[in-house]
Each structure stands twice: as C-alpha cells, then as structure tokens.
Amino acid sequence: MPDRRLQFDIVIVGAGPAGLAAACAASECGRKAALLESAPWIGGQIWRGEEAHFANTQARYWINRVRKSGATLLTGTNVIAANTPITLLAEQPHGAVEIQWRKLILATGARELFLPFPGWTLPGVFGPGGLQGLVKNGWPVAGKKVVIAGTGPLLLAAADGLKKHGARVVLIAEQTRKSHVAELGLTLLAYPGKVLQGAALKARLLGVPQRYGVWPVRALGSDHVRVVELTNGRDTWTENCDQLACGFHLVPNVELPITFGCDLRNGFVKVDHWQMTSVADVFCAGEPTAIGGVNAALVEGQIAGYAASGQLEKAERLFSQRATHQTFAQALDKTYALRDELKGITTDDTIFCRCEDVTFARVKQHRFGREAKLQTRCGMGICQGRICGAAAKIILGWEQSSVRPPVHPARINSLTTHNQAH
C-alpha cells in the first residue's frame, strides 16, 4: 500500500485563483506550504488550459508566481476526508496520502447550477463552463451551431471562448432582464478594469445574437440535441443547434468546508475579516464564501494566505480592495437572480436526478430532500446530490442533505489509510 504521510505549516486546497493567491501569500515568506489540486493542472476551472498555453495575463502572472513561491504543488490530489481535526486524507493516482496541517485554507471554488428541463440530459447539452473546458481540451466545435442559455457572466465568456474555436454561436439567451444588466453596467463604471474587459468582450461578440429575458424550456432530439425551445414568457420558439450550453450561474463548493466543521450562512461559508471560518485555523477564500469572480477570489486568497502565515499587516492592506469586490459580487447576485418562471421548467417526466434516473414526478411527491432520497434514490448516485441537490434547493426549496466522507468518490483502500498509518 503506497501510503504516505506529509506535513506542512499551511495547506491550501484548490488551485483556482483563490488557492493560487493564497499559496503565493503563504509561502513567499518562507513558510512550508502545499497547494492541493484534484485536477492534473493548476489554475482551476476558469484557467483550465492556461498552464499549457497562456492566453490570459492574470493566469500567466499567478501561475508563474506560484511556481516560484516555494509552495509544494500537489496536483492530482483529491481531498476526501478530514480524518482527524488536524489531518486530511487525500487520494492520489497511486494511493492515498495523509496530510497534516497547522493552518488550512479551503479554496474549493464553485460549480455550475443546472436546472432540469425536458431534454437536459440529451447528449450535446452541457454547462457553458463545462463545454468551454471540453473545447480547451480539444473537443471539436468548429462550424457547430451552439445555443448558449441560462444566466450569468459565464454565458458571455463561454460564447467568446467557443467563437474563438470556430463555433457558430446562434444565440445567447440570458434569463435576466436587460434592465438588470444595464444597472450592473452602471455599477461597473466604478470598476474601470471591468469596463475595459467588458468593452473588449462586447467587441468580440459583435454579431452574436443576444436576447434577455429568455430561457430554455425544452431540448429536443432523438439521440442528440438538435433543437432547443425557448420562451420569453409570452412567445415560444425554437432554434436549431448542434450543442446547447445551459447553466444558471454558480453554486459554491461547500462540501469540504462542511466536512471540516465550518459553519455556513445562507449557503456560503461564514468567514471573518481574516477569511477565517468558524473553525480555528481553517480559512476559506473565493467562491465558497460568495460568488464574486476572479478578482474577489484573488484578493481573498491573498488575505487568507497572509493571515494564515501571520502577516496580518499585509492582509489588512487588502481589506479595502476586498470590500470593493464584494460590492461587485452583491451587484452580480442581484443582476442574475433567477426569475420565478424557472421554477416551472421542470416537467413531471423530466429526469431530476440523472445519476439514478429519478423523474421529477417521483421526487416532488415528498416533503423534504431526505425523504425523497430514501424513497426514490434521488441524490444517492455517484455525484452524491451535487447536481440535483442544488436544483432541489431552487425548485423545491429543500435544504441540501448532510455531507459525509468521502467528499468525493474514493477507493475503499484509500479510506483504510488511517488504520495503516497508526
């Protein structure tokens, strides 16, 4: 059994922007830090592929900086449990590893929110972020007709990325009202950087049809999506497509923080001004504390890294920046709030839990999530309710069920490490 035990002063989980920034801040002063990442690359979902070919200047800066920071980079390392109050258990391709920490920074990011509607499980239907990731890995979209639907800034970013790879983006259907986005535009005037980014993006997306107050109600096709039916609440029409990228913004990955005992507030990890959670010596930064995007994540990550390594003055100097980004995060939240009509797009025969093939009709006859889970297997599959649990929260108002180890599926052998190590 190739089990290993490692020890660090500061362990950072997740190598997206927040984790990279935290690792730099924590290790540049000479502290022994490790950055753990489940994927084989660093950069997280948002900077996927950047490590191989830099296209984004921020990504280039932070990835290069972390490489020089002295932090130990452990990619392919999937944290599966908090096996003692000061150690975590992680799985690597060749076995499990137990890692002891003095300070822990959780930068676990966010995932896309999917709302089930008829046809959402057809091949060819992806999340905008997921499709973008596939394309970066070489999935061919050149000449393909793509409809992008749902909500959030990710739709535009995905459209941009897909277009660069030769896709024909036939429509961007944003569920929120145009007036909401216009208000966000005004808020943006306070952020010159974002205005410039926005203007550049707008220029690149010139000629791509964009509609607001529009959402998908059905994806059609026998073996693959061919047509998507959309509505603006009055009229319903169809668009032909080869791919449908549909997602409803992001949900925070709070499962690991919950495993370490961190308290939540409104579904996000509760942190103090040092980014410390309700558990002493456990910090959290980035999307799990509020969906705020890259810049908020970078600042929060640095604050967490400085605070965890005792560099409080450096951390404090970033407080005002963080406040600015948090205001922006709140504006984003308001702009892309889901409209009530979306609670009605799930029909009775829609597959609600795709791991276990459970229809919405079966799920909705129950009073709460645990009852539905026990009686229908909804949320009992390989994703452990990550997808349907988040949807049930929106559509049925159900609280998500408890988190138990392993946080991610893990080999039985990995879970026996504790015994081997002692």
Binding site: R367, L374, Q375, R404, P405, P409, I412
Partner: protein, 377 residues
C-alpha cells in the same frame, strides 16, 4: 379518525410500519405518529438483511417466523423494496470456525431451515472474490436482502389501505400512563394503548426502557456488477456481535439490486454522535478487504452511520411495559429489526387482542426486566 383510536403507534421505522399494518389488518383502529419520515431512523441505516439467526431459541423462533412472513409477502412487495433472495453465506476462516459451521448446520437442519454445507472449494466457487484458503462455509439460501426504507413505506401504505391513519411530521413527546400521547405542540391525543416503537430513541420517550444505542457504520460502493452474489458474513461476526462491551468490526457485505456493494459492519456503544468515526471505519474496511481483496479497488461513494436499539439480552421488547398497561413496547431489535419487523407486528397484534400467538411471546415480554436486573452475559 373520527373515533378514538385503539392504539397509537409512535415511530414509523420498519418495525412501527409493520406493527401498524398488522394491527390494522387485525381490525384495531390504528394511528401512527412519525416525527420525520417513514424509515428515516435506524431503518435507513440498516443493511436490510433478512436472516435466520440462532443465538438463542427465542431469537431463532422470531427470525424464522419473520423470515417466513417476508417470503409470503414477496409477491406483493413493490420493485423498489428490492427483495433479493440472494441467501446468506457464513464463511469460516479456520477450523474453529468450521466447528461453528457444523453446529449451525445441525441447529438449522434440526429445525427445518434449508442449509448447504460448503468446503473450501465450495466457498471459492460460490464467491470467487473471496480470498483463497478459507475453510468453508454455510449457505442459507432462503435468506434475503431488501431495501428497508421502501419496504417500510410499503407496510405503512398497506396499513393506510387497511384503515390506519398516518400522521407524518408529528412528534409525540410524552406517553401518558392513562393512555395517549402529548405532542410537541402540547396537543393531547388519547387512545386505549400507546406503542413505543421509537427504536434507539424509545428511552427518550420512556426513561428506564432497557435499550441502549449501538452505533454502526456502513459504506456503499459504486456499481460493481456481480462482484458478490450472496450476503457474506464472517463467523467471527458472532464473536464480535456478541461482545456487549467492546467496539468491534466484522466482515459483512451484501450485493444490492443496484449492483452496488454494501459493506459493514461495526458496533460501538456509548457513541451517541452520528459522525463517521474514521478509525473504526478504516478498521471495518480493512477487515472486509482481508476477506475480499478486490474490494480495496472498488470506489466508495457514501458512508453513513446509525444506531441500533440494543437490549442487554439481545432480544426485543414486545408487550406491555412495566410502567403502565396502557403503554406498550415494540423496540430493542438491535441489528435484526428489518428481519423481525413482520414477526413483531404479528406478535403485537395478537397480544393486543388477547389471542394466542404463533410463537411463544414470553421471551420478548418487557416483564423479564421486572426486577431491574438485566442478565448481561
């Protein structure tokens, strides 16, 4: 229910649901109160092994009686109850355990339970994933596996069809000696008799009930078609399941109809928390891996814990409580509540109606603890 119920059943785990079904079938006006959801407590945490057991004559009588009732009920069970007549394979690791296999074989054969003795090769053929070199085993082909929460739901639906009233999300906080219950919101509901079927929580409703929480862990894997075919249990299980004091683990795995493998088992007293205990979890998985080396490479997708309601003599409490003739018990089934739910329901209904029971009920009478003395082993 316009009329006052004859009985109020507190707790809709699988035992409460089976009691409701059998009492309603027997013509009793039955009201069921459940604070959360059907089968949400110990039932949800159980493996769902329907098994004939031979710890004592009384335990055997109740498990066989119940197992027969399960077999009779099988054609009516809905698909989601996942009844799978996979049988139990008791495996012996050494000669000492083979002696136990032979004792078990004699015990079951003398009492008409179908068994098949397997030698070392026979065990390997029956379960190719088992490590080579085991001494042998005993196959009990009429044992089975179910998915307990849906079986409990089916029993409760049957009870409703037979006229029982079910109140979900209603918590009884006090059982009243004059008959009836007080609810969390202060309401009184009266009935001739109240049945405490709250499993490990039964002492909270009635201090002094000789039931302790005995914690267990389970792990379920991703789909692994055909990995194992029977519920496989080590005979060392008896040594550990019998130990009333120490924490213990035993190799106990089962194939699910979903093609997943359910891995048990652990036993801990005085562990009230529902948190996963990594130390005992890894001991349990290591033990299972010793018997099934290939298990180590399967993927675990979920672990959970639960509490068994354990009595000092390992037999359930079925009948009037010592406290009041109007408060009855149907609790303390330890790890056998899924199997013995149906037998318990029948016994309870017969006792309530003053009818002769089909198996002796005395060994389960709460009156055996009348002197406060509990005969620990």
């Amino acid at each position: 229910m316009s009329q006052k119920p004859d009985i109020i059943i507190v707790g809709a785990g699988i035992v409460g649901a089976a009691c409701a079904m059998e009492c309603a079938r027997a013509g009793l006006r039955t009201l069921v109160l459940e604070r959360e959801c059907v089968g949400g407590g110990t039932t949800a945490a159980g493996m769902g092994h329907i098994v004939a057991m031979d710890d004592s004559e009384a335990q055997f009588a109740l498990t066989r009686y119940s197992r027969n009732l399960w077999i009779q009920m099988r054609p009516q069970l809905p698909e989601e109850a996942e009844y799978d007549p996979c049988g139990t394979l008791w495996v012996a690791a050494d000669d000492e355990e083979m002696t136990e296999v032979r004792r078990k074989q004699n015990f079951f054969e003398q009492r008409g339970v179908r068994v098949e003795m397997l030698d070392s090769d026979g065990v390997a053929k029956a379960e190719p994933q088992l490590r080579p070199g085991l001494s042998g085993g005993l196959l009990v082909p009429d044992d089975a596996v179910v998915y307990p929460p849906c079986a409990a739901k089916f029993f409760l639906d049957q009870a409703r069809t037979l006229g029982a009233e079910i109140k979900m999300g209603v918590a009884a906080t006090h059982l009243l000696p004059e008959g009836g219950v007080r609810l969390a919101d202060g309401t009184h509901l009266s009935a001739d008799r109240v049945i405490n079927v709250a499993g490990p929580w039964s002492p909270e409703l009635m201090p002094g009930v000789p039931v302790r929480k005995r914690k267990g862990h389970l792990v379920i894997t991703d789909r692994a078609p055909g990995f194992v075919r029977h519920q496989i249990v080590e005979l060392g299980y008896l040594k550990s399941a019998h130990s009333v004091s120490k924490d213990s683990v035993a190799f106990n795995v089962q194939p699910r109809k979903t093609q997943q493998v359910l891995v048990g088992s652990s036993r801990q007293f005085d562990a009230a928390s529902t948190e996963v205990d990594h130390a005992i979890l890894s001991r349990m998985l290591s033990r299972a891996g010793e018997y099934l080396p290939g298990l180590n490479d399967l993927v675990a997708i979920r672990t959970w814990t639960g509490h068994r309601p354990a009595t000092p003599d390992k037999l359930p409490l079925i009948g009037p409580s010592l406290f009041s003739d109007r408060i009855w018990l149907a609790t303390g089934h330890e790890g056998l509540g899924i199997t013995t739910s149906l037998g318990t329901g029948r016994l309870l209904a017969d006792l309530l109606l003053g009818q002769p029971t089909e198996i002796p009920s005395e060994p389960f009478s709460p009156s055996r603890y009348a002197n406060g003395a509990s005969h620990h082993e």
